[in-house]
Amino acid sequence: MTNKLQLDSKHLPLIATIGLFIVMFIFGSLRYTGFFSTQVFLNLFIDNAFLIVVAVGMTFVILSGGIDLSVGSIIALTSMVAASLTMNAQLSPVLVIPISLLVGTVLGFCMGCLIQYYNLQPFIVTLAGMFLARGLCYLISVESITIDHKFFSFMASTRIPVGGGNFISISVIIAMLVVIAAIFIAHYTKFGRNVYALGGSEQSALLMGLPVGKTKILIYTVSGFCSSLAGIIFTFYMLSGYGLHANGLELDTIAAVVIGGTLLTGGAGYVAGSVVGVLILGIIQTVIVFEGTLSSWWTKIAIGTLLLLFIVLQRVIVARSKTNQTTVSSR
C-alpha cells in the first residue's frame, strides 16, 4: 500500500478506468459547447454525491465477496423517515439526522447477522431487505412528503464557492469525507484488511483466526450506514421523502463499483475506483443530456453502448498489460 513498486499490476484496472474517464471528458468537451467547464465536472460530484457514498459502502461488501441489494430501498426509507419525522412529528434535525442514520445501520446490522448466523446467501437476505425497506416506506406514506425546514433548505441550497464562479454543495464535502475515511479504513485498519482477506477466501480467513463473523456483520452494518447517509444526502438533494426514490439504484451502484475495478468475487479492488466508477456513470448521462437529441429508447441503447465501450476497453487494456507481466495470476 505504501510501496511505490506496487503501482503496477494491482492498480492497473484503476488507472485504466481513470484514463477512460479522461478520454470521455475530452470527447464531450470537443463535441459539445459548454461541456468543457469546471462546473460540469463539479456537477458530476454534486449530482452523484449520494451515489458515491453508497458505492463506498458497497465496495466493502463486494470486496468481502458479498452483495447488498438493499441500498436503494434504504435510501428511500431514510428519506421517508427523515421527512416524516421533520414534517409530521415536527422533530428538530438534531434528532432527525441521527435517527435516520440509525435506520440503515440497524437494518444492515440485522442483515449481517442473518447472513452470518444462519449462513444465508447475502443476495437473498439483502433482496428481502430491499423489499422490506421499500415496503416500510409505503407504510409510512404512499405519497411523497415535502420537507420544508430551514436546516434542510440550508443544506440543500448552500453553495460553497471553489473559485471561478464555480461551486459545490455541502453534500459533496460529506461524500469526500466519507471517501477519505473509507480509504483509510480499507488500508490502514484491521477491519479493512480483514475485509480483503474475507473476500480472498473465507475459509482461509477463518483458519487464519480472523474474526470472520464480526467482520461480516460489520461490513453489512457499514453498508447500511453508508446507505442511510446517502439517504440523508439524497434528502438534501430532493428535499422530500418518497417511497419510489432511488428505485433500481442498487444496480447502478454495483455497476459503478465493478466498473471501478473491483472484482465481484471479492478480494480485489479499491474505494477510489468506485468513485471513478460513479463519475463514469455520471459522465455517460451528462454526455447523453448534452447530446439532447436521443429519444427515450435511444437513450437506453446509448447508455448500454457507452457502458459496453468502457468495459471492453478496460478489459482490453488490463488484459494487454497482463500478458506483458511476468507473474501468473491464479484467477
Binding site: F123, Y138, L263, K300, G304, V312, R315
Partner: protein
C-alpha cells in the same frame, strides 16, 4: 438432493394451504368452457414465464454467473413477435412460425452476445448482462416505437393463451423446456461440465474442458428461455409493451433459483428445486392478489415470506428453533457440529 427439495415443497404447500383458508374451493379444478380451470392451474399458467426464465437462470448461476438481461430479452422477444404478426390476420400459420423463428433467433443472439462478453472478453457476468438489461429495453421500444403494440391475430395468442388437452398450452411449453434441460444436463456431460466450471474454472480448464463454450452455452440457453417466456407473455395479453414487459423478472428468477437450493457461488444446481422456487413466488403473488392484501404492504409481505423461506432452509436456524424438540434426530442428520 432429496433433503434440498423438502423445505421448498413444505413452504409451497403452506402458501397454498393459506389460500385454502380464505377460499374453500382453492384446490378444486373444474371443467369450464371445455377447459380445466382452477387456481392451481392458474398459478401454473401465470407462472410459466417465470418458470422458463428461472430454468435458464439456474444453469447460468451454476457457472457462478448471473443473467440480468432476461427481463429485457422478454421485452425484445415480445416486441419482435408482436411486430412480425402485427399485420397478419386470418388463419394462415405462416406469420406465426415466422414470429416464433424470429424470436428464437433474436433470443439466441442475445445469449451469444452475453456469452461472448463473459466467456471470450472476460467481463464479469453481472456487468456484461447489465449492458443488455439497459440497452435491450431500448431496443424493444425501438421496435415497437414506444407504443403498446396490439395483436389481432388469433394463432399468435394461442402460444400464451391457448389450450391443449384441456390445459393451458404454456404449461406444455414449460414441461418441454424443462424436459430438454433435464435431459441435456443429466443425460449428457453438459451438466457435469457446468458444475465443474462453476466450482473450479481453472481446474476444469486443465482437465481439458472448454469452459468458454460451456459459458457461452448457458447464456444462450438462458436467452432462449427468456425469449420463449417473452413470447408467452406477449401472446397472453396479445400485445407487446417494450417498456414494461418482463420488468424485474431477473430478480424473481434469481430468487426462484436460490430458494430452489442452488447456490449463487456456482457448482451444484437443482432444476427441480428451481421449479418449486418459481412456483412459490408465483403462488405468493397470486395469494397476495386474491386474499386482498393492501398494495402498500405487498412488499413487506414478500420480504417476510422470502426471509422465512430462507431461514427454514438454513440448518443453523432449524437447529436453533426446532432443536428443543427434535434435538436427537437432527443431530444425527447434521454435519456433526454438536449443539450443546
Amino acid at each position: 438432493m432429496k433433503s434440498k427439495l423438502f423445505w421448498p415443497i413444505v413452504i409451497l404447500l403452506i402458501i397454498l394451504l393459506i389460500n385454502l383458508f380464505f377460499d374453500k374451493n382453492f384446490f378444486s379444478i373444474e371443467v369450464k368452457n371445455g377447459y380445466l380451470t382452477g387456481s392451481l392451474i392458474d398459478i401454473l399458467n401465470r407462472g410459466a414465464p417465470l418458470l422458463l426464465v428461472s430454468i435458464g437462470m439456474t444453469l447460468v448461476i451454476a457457472t457462478k454467473g448471473v443473467d440480468l438481461g432476461v427481463g429485457s430479452v422478454i421485452a425484445m422477444a415480445g416486441a419482435v413477435g408482436a411486430m412480425t404478426v402485427s399485420g397478419a390476420s386470418g388463419d394462415s400459420l405462416v406469420p406465426l412460425f415466422t414470429a416464433i423463428g424470429l424470436v428464437i433467433g433474436i433470443s439466441v443472439l442475445t445469449g451469444i452476445w452475453n456469452g461472448v462478453l463473459v466467456s471470450r472478453i472476460g467481463v464479469q457476468p453481472i456487468v456484461a448482462t447489465l449492458i443488455l438489461m439497459v440497452a435491450g429495453r431500448g431496443i424493444a421500444q425501438l421496435i415497437t416505437d414506444g407504443q403498446i403494440m396490439t395483436v389481432y391475430y388469433d394463432p399468435y395468442t394461442f402460444i400464451g393463451g391457448g389450450y391443449l388437452l384441456m390445459l393451458p398450452f404454456s404449461i406444455f411449453i414449460v414441461a418441454a423446456v424443462m424436459a430438454v434441460a433435464s435431459l441435456l444436463t443429466r443425460k449428457t456431460a453438459i451438466g457435469l461440465f457446468i458444475e465443474s466450471v462453476g466450482t473450479n474454472p481453472e481446474a476444469s480448464r486443465l482437465s481439458g474442458i472448454n469452459s468458454k463454450n460451456i459459458l457461452l452455452m448457458v447464456y444462450v440457453f438462458s436467452g432462449l428461455c427468456a425469449g420463449i417466456a417473452g413470447l408467452i407473455l406477449s401472446s397472453n395479453v396479445a400485445s407487446a409493451d417494450g417498456n414494461n414487459a418482463g420488468l424485474w423478472y431477473e430478480l424473481d428468477a434469481i430468487l426462484a433459483v436460490v430458494i430452489g437450493g442452488t447456490s449463487l457461488n456456482g457448482g451444484r444446481f437443482h432444476l427441480m428445486g428451481t421449479v418449486i422456487g418459481a412456483l412459490i413466488i408465483q403462488s405468493l403473488t397470486t395469494t397476495i392478489y386474491s386474499i386482498g392484501i393492501a398494495p402498500e404492504i405487498n412488499l413487506v409481505v414478500k420480504a417476510i415470506v422470502v426471509l422465512i423461506v430462507c431461514l427454514l432452509q438454513s440448518p443453523e436456524f432449524r437447529k436453533k428453533v426446532f432443536g428443543g424438540f427434535t434435538a436427537k434426530k437432527i443431530e444425527k442428520k447434521s454435519e456433526g457440529v454438536s449443539v450443546s
